[in-house]
């Protein structure tokens, strides 16, 4: 390789500067948001010294606790359903001689990624409103179903990737040793597949936790999640309380993604 001080074939004039600007632009708004969450004043514009009062206020706010718990509940249920369904589908669509309709299955599983969120949201609004009127049921089931559906493609991706990189010969060896298909799956395939399943679950969890648009249109009265609650707050008078919630929420997402990152890294 060429010495950096003489002539590097990889260098392009100005690119590093633009890249640096890009990283600053990506992080400056988030950093500002976090800094102002520690503001002692009531305004998000004027800095009045460091304080944790807004974290305290958010923590003691019944409503925030309620919507946060609901968000976590929906995310866990949806991620569980989506991961199980996606893992089964991934087992059916990888490492086999293709079957008739496999392309269709593949397309259907990825379909939620292709449709703009707002379109899915209003389509669900129309359909579920009719079902709600017809059956009288307005519980969380609709949110579970909607979230599971759009989480499936995200759970499917890492599981499929893991399956494709796995060695088939171990399963063949198990079969040669007279293991039943179920035993082969339980004792060989599943333990090998496990990191992919965990990764899929975490992706699905974050995606469900982050959803605003679809939840906003599907939820019945009193079913706000943390993001839809925040959406409501952002249209009213904003206090640093919103910053405090955002910061906590941000740290949670970053925590999960960091875990995901290291899990993926160790695999290699």
């Amino acid at each position: 390789m060429a010495n950096a001080s003489t002539f590097s074939v990889r260098r392009q004039t100005g690119f590093t500067t633009i890249a640096a600007t890009c990283f600053v632009l990506l992080y400056a708004p988030i950093v500002t948001l976090i800094i102002y969450s520690f503001n002692a004043g009531t305004s998000i514009a004027v800095w009045r010294g460091f304080s944790l009062r807004w974290y305290e206020a958010a923590w003691n706010n019944e409503q925030i606790r309620e919507v946060a718990l609901r968000s976590l509940l929906i995310a866990s249920v949806a991620a569980t359903i989506a991961t199980i369904a996606a893992t089964m589908a991934a087992l059916a669509t990888t490492r086999r001689t293709g079957f008739k309709g496999m392309t269709a299955v593949y397309a259907a599983i990825n379909a939620p990624l292709m449709v703009p969120e707002i379109v899915t949201a209003v389509a669900l609004l129309i359909t579920f409103a009719t079902i709600k009127v017809a059956t009288g049921y307005t519980g969380l089931g609709f949110l579970f179903a909607a979230h599971s559906a759009f989480c499936i493609p995200f759970a499917y991706l890492p599981v499929r990737a893991r399956l494709e990189s796995m060695d088939l010969s171990l399963e063949r060896a198990a079969a040669d040793l007279y293991a039943t298909p179920w035993n082969t799956f339980r004792r060989v395939t599943f333990p090998l597949l496990w990191p992919g399943i965990i990764a899929g679950y975490m992706l699905a969890f974050v995606i469900s936790l982050d959803d605003v648009v679809i939840t906003e249109f599907v939820k019945s009265a009193g079913q706000d999640t943390l993001p839809t609650y925040m959406l409501g707050q952002l249209r009213r008078q904003i206090t640093p309380e919103v910053n405090a919630i955002s910061t906590a929420f941000f740290l949670l997402s970053v925590g999960i993604v960091t875990l995901f990152f290291f899990l993926n890294r160790r695999k290699r």
Partner: protein, 307 residues
């Protein structure tokens, strides 16, 4: 011999059946809560609107679709183009295109920067790009609000430097929407660009320099053609969600500067015109599908020409 063939065929049908059974739960959930409702929505777009939202079941009409492009005057039935809708269509396409181009201008050098780091540190840089992407959309939009508000960092900074005396109004303008979308979707540009830049064979770049090419010529004639599939993928990935954006224009654009997503929502809220809303949604989906087809076509061309 025959029995072996037979049992092989039998095993194959059994395997096919198992595959379908295994796929069934995912397919059922997606049909119930994603694809099925789209069909319902298509049916709704063809019905007569109800008086308080909803539709009159079984009464069909083309009014929903007619309303996408035209207005009918309530007094004398004259038909005019629906200017308001066309303005919003145009704004959506225009802002999404601008966002895509600016994202490319920032994203390309960034992806190149990451791809030319030593292998060990590339993951970390990529991780830094993905973090904002995994952060809630709402939080990112809110963070952008803090930056561009009249009392936000940009204005404070400009006043402090002395370039301006009074804050510039950025919030509730098209510029605000564009900045918000750029901020929210930029990682979607960087990631596919990086994926194709990582594979660049730098011997080709070296060959370019050996043949007395300038840095710009190498960039324009060697690097850009090599990463064209990444450029197309990144552009599509930014353009499509921008076109259907809902949260960002709603928060940063205020009530006046609507985009398609907000126009659709309006029909299900105050507008109480579900068939029109359904027809608008399908129109948006159609535009997205066209963009996607262009992408698939380009992508397949890209792979075939590179072997």
């Amino acid at each position: 011999m025959a029995s072996a063939q037979e049992s092989a065929a039998l095993a194959k049908t059994k395997e096919t059946r198992d595959s379908w059974l295994l796929s069934a739960p995912a397919l059922v959930i997606i049909f119930f809560a994603a694809l099925g409702p789209l069909i319902v929505m298509f049916a709704y777009s063809l019905m007569v609107k109800g008086d308080y939202g909803d539709v009159k079941f079984g009464e069909f009409s083309g009014d929903g679709w007619f309303g996408v492009f035209f207005n009918r005057d309530i007094f004398d039935d004259t038909v005019t183009l629906a200017d308001a809708h066309l303005t919003i269509f145009w704004r959506s396409v225009k802002l999404s295109l601008f966002t895509t181009v600016i994202a490319l201008i920032f994203g390309f050098p960034t992806a190149y920067f990451i791809a030319t780091r030593p292998e060990r540190s590339r993951d970390i840089w990529l991780f830094l790009v993905t973090i904002p992407f995994w952060t809630n959309l709402l939080i990112r939009t809110f963070a952008m609000m803090e930056v561009i508000r009249n009392e936000g960092i940009i204005n404070l900074l400009l006043i402090w430097i002395g370039i301006i005396d009074t804050p510039i109004q950025i919030m509730y303008t098209d510029t605000a929407i564009m900045m918000g979308m750029l901020y929210v979707y930029l990682p979607l540009m960087v990631l596919p660009l990086y994926a194709s830049m990582e594979k660049i064979d730098f011997r080709l770049v070296e060959a370019g320099y050996d043949l007395y090419a300038t840095r710009f010529q190498v960039l324009w004639r060697v690097i850009i053609p090599l990463v064209k599939p990444g450029i197309i993928a990144g552009s599509i990935l930014v353009f499509i969600p921008s076109l259907g954006a809902y949260v960002t224009p709603r928060l940063l654009g205020g009530g006046k500067n609507m985009m398609l997503g907000n126009l659709i929502e309006l029909q299900f809220g105050q507008g109480r015109n579900w068939p029109l809303g359904a027809a608008l949604s399908i129109t948006l989906m159609a535009i997205v599908m066209v963009a996607m087809l262009v992408y698939v076509k380009q992508a397949s061309k890209g792979t075939s020409s590179h072997g």
